[in-house]
Symmetry: C2
Subunit: 114 residues, 2 copies
């Protein structure tokens, strides 16, 4: 299996590099914790590949719905809003670790964060 994790950053928000890094880390860790043991272990052994993309928040409900339908571990970050963004802002979504081709059904068209 070719496993990966994809982290989607909310492109509507203006977040600094450090803020994006923290939100991505939240999303990554919590999506990981929702994966089953076998996928966690296989993914970590293979290096824990992570890809960071961006998308408008209006797509987040669809992302979460599709992840549930496809049984992909998924975690949406609602930021406490202590810095930079309003409380409850949906800053990022973590998907996987999961089979890459399966995640690509959701994130395949999204743009990498530069």
């Amino acid at each position: 299996m070719d496993l990966k994790q994809v982290i989607i950053i909310n492109s509507d928000l203006e977040m600094s590099k450090g803020k994006v890094a923290a939100q991505a880390s939240h999303a990554s860790l919590n999506a990981y914790l929702r994966a089953d043991n076998q996928k966690r272990s296989d993914w970590l052994s293979a290096g824990g590949k992570k890809v960071v993309v961006e998308e408008s928040r209006e797509k987040f409900p669809e992302v979460v719905r599709e992840a549930e339908r496809l049984n992909i571990p998924c975690y949406k970050v609602n930021d406490a809003g202590l810095t930079e963004v309003k409380s409850g802002s949906e800053t990022a979504v973590g998907l996987g670790p999961e089979e890459a081709s399966k995640i690509d059904k959701i994130t395949g068209e999204m743009t990498l964060v530069k």
Copy 2:
């Protein structure tokens, strides 16, 4: 206990926002996996606070040494170098979850990533 995780980004490298986010996520997850169960659980329950700072790579050996001495979970990321940086580049270090005041002995003077 006031637990946090600090992620140190290598300030010598020119990395995009997406690259930094991926490296921070690697560092965060792997440092987490090196923490004991009680600290993992307490930290996650309290929201999993993460702070992202930057420092020159020349400080990394000292950071790792001090983390070992203070018994702080620590993970240094050596990037595979498939994108943006050379293979083996030390892109980031994750510290904690650990008592905030203890981590501050190492990272207290470092600059937040903007």
